[in-house]
Symmetry: C2
Subunit: 413 residues, 2 copies
């Protein structure tokens, strides 16, 4: 990039990333900062402080999504937004989501430095509970914003300890009063680490996301009966764990059946009483399947439904799907994607066009606003792992692309 061109301050961006990396430390080098935890609250406070210092106006909606606004010259127009999330997995990395929010802040700081005013206002958004580590489904704040979940439903979700979403949101001080509906965005751009190895392998600094895997989530409960695990004959048992195990094994087998494009996963099980010597009468598992092709994803979902019923029959327990969800990125804006392509070309930034395999807030936002995503490389594609790592020099091209695309969009007549 020419030195005459507007560029973000990479060191300043990195300082914010490193400060964030101190809040909610994990077991080794990563973070344990699930949504609505005390650490999540602390990080939000830090973000709000930074935003206020940058002259932004804060707005928190009823599910805790934070909108930090920089006025434009025509404030009757809807804002151009950047953002992602600040929550992490409980053994997560320092960059997943966080980079997208703090890159937005850095864009604002750079425009402040240069006294650049855009026509449309700008907003940096932190979405609540993208990870779904504590409250399922994931991308809950963006989903509520997009009208996919109702406010009451979101507030009533409970974590594995029985804590209520609404109460925890209140506890950390982010139960805002801004209404969920009616906040129009001119466009939404989300920068995120790739969470795959492709960019690194090809030596490219930017991925422009043209679409993504279709994902289906199912939360399934098994209802059996407690009994002594010793004397109870096999044909009298109603062991909820056995039902769950048949399903988990079948879900894994379904992923392999559609290998290499498919992903099928179970990572979480709740069980009661979960003790030696007594058959558990209750189990809950969360199943997730993904495929780039919607038809195949739907076929996999049908096979999972059959596996749920079969697992219940084999274990002689009752089964119930208590939550289900779906996300994908069929809805990204051609207009926004073209703007990213053109801007990358102007900036001489080489890029690949790619599919996203992970879910992102942008998937839901795309239902209500023109949306596009930018990926930047991460080491070996390692993520949702404390070893997640990115390099500054490989990341800055994506941040500059974000800034220039946002400027272009915000100044459009």
């Amino acid at each position: 990039m020419s030195t005459n061109r507007l560029e973000v301050d990479g060191n300043r961006l990195w300082e914010t990333l490193m400060r964030s990396g101190e809040i909610g430390p994990g077991r080794s080098t990563g973070l344990n900062r699930p949504a609505l935890s005390t650490a999540d609250g602390e990080m939000r406070d830090q973000f709000v402080d930074w935003c206020k210092a940058a002259g932004l106006t804060m707005r928190v909606d009823q599910v805790g999504n934070i909108f930090a606004r920089r006025e434009g010259s025509d404030n009757a127009l809807p804002p151009v937004a950047m953002g992602s999330h600040l929550d992490t997995q409980i053994a997560g990395g320092k960059y997943d989501g966080i980079l997208g929010v703090l890159a937005g802040l850095e864009v604002i700081r750079t425009l402040n430095d240069r006294n650049i005013t855009t026509r449309r206002p700008l907003e940096v958004i932190c979405w609540t509970n993208e990870e779904g580590a504590r409250f399922q489904p994931p991308m809950m704040g963006a989903g509520a914003f997009a009208g996919i979940h109702t406010l009451d439903w979101v507030l009533d979700q409970r974590d594995d300890d029985g804590e209520r979403f609404g109460d925890e949101l209140e506890r950390i001080g982010y139960a805002g009063d801004a209404k969920l509906a009616g906040h129009e965005l001119d466009a939404y751009f989300e920068l995120h680490i790739e969470q795959g190895p492709e960019l690194e392998a090809e030596g490219l600094p930017v991925g422009i996301v043209t679409g993504g895997f279709v994902a289906f989530g199912r939360q399934v409960q098994f209802h059996g009966e407690t009994a002594h695990s010793g004397p109870t004959p096999m044909d009298k048992r109603r062991n909820a764990l056995v039902g769950a195990a048949y399903l988990i094994a079948a879900v894994n087998d379904i992923g392999w059946k559609y290998h290499p494009d498919a992903r099928s996963t179970t990572t979480r099980i709740q069980l009661w009483p979960n003790k030696y010597g007594i058959l558990p009468d209750w189990a809950e598992v969360t199943v997730d399947i993904r495929h780039p092709d919607r038809k195949t994803a739907e076929k996999m979902a049908d096979e999972v439904s059959a596996a749920i019923a079969e697992a219940g029959e084999k274990a002689r327990v009752d089964v119930e799907v208590v939550k289900e969800w779906e996300f994908g990125c069929d809805d990204f804006s051609d207009d926004c994607i073209d703007l990213l392509r053109k801007t990358a070309g102007d900036l001489d930034i080489p890029y690949a066009e790619m599919l996203s395999q992970a879910g992102h807030d942008a998937y839901h936002v795309a239902k209500v606003a023109p949306t596009a995503m930018i990926f930047s490389p991460c080491r070996e594609g390692i993520t949702h792992n404390e070893g997640e790592h990115i390099e500054k020099r490989d990341t800055l091209p994506a941040v500059n692309l974000l800034m220039h695309a946002v400027l272009e969009r915000a100044n459009r007549s």
Copy 2:
């Protein structure tokens, strides 16, 4: 039974059972009183108070086993003992184990009432952690008494919250100083509810236990790697839960293969991080298999070992057997069993001879002292369930059989 014959006081026994039934209430009608819980400590205190009021001398050994002694006329002779356990499952019944201890106390009280002194001293024993609900393996106190586990090993076991057995024993005040070794018993008689439906179905008040199922326990750990459950391709995943699920399913299938005599069980799984969106890198399950025939049980154990290895391979995770144990009741004393048969005949109590399917403290005690067991009926065989229930009138014949057999043994020349 003739009214001239010595009989226990059923109402008094029932009062103690009902009092015990108030300590550590479960969610409905049962108990939640796992070993070394605060409630277990409270129940032990109540038992000790009752014993002291009955004039017994208390002795607590280094793993918390309680021996309540009534002197005889020749106290150089080893005591004849009765007992079982006062701990329960976390959704257990009010009688499992408890009946055996409190029946022993009622026998003592009856002898006190009649001023009957036996030649040998008598002891009522409460064994520590029979259930294994919190610390595995089950029957830990009796196992330590029999020399199957070392003292240090027992004290170092940890529950699922990481609490240490020795610390918890100290906390509830039952880290005694009596040595584990060297306490000889002349004989040990354990009365227990059947935990099966046979006696009720046949309308019999007593089962004389002639042997039992051979059981093998395995605690297995799976070691994988955390990663994002979305993008990670199937062939790069090392999901510890998937390994555990393949094993749990295989263990259940092995039980069915040897149906109807076999039992094969998994009731407990520990997992980390156990969250949506991140592959868990660690799982631990406890597997239990049982069969009345030792050779078949060993064959099943071999198949479980093969299933452990196969589950690890299919899930691409490392597997490790971290604990294993075995119990059975090959070792009951013909002499003691004959005494029970003869006494039941004398008392005109109809009985069945039967196998025990559950594990009992008596299995371990049988390694070091002449041992036998008496079963009494329980409703529909329901146990390790808060709905466990027994009737007084159906239980008293077994308690009287216990008393008369103990008297006979204690007075032998």
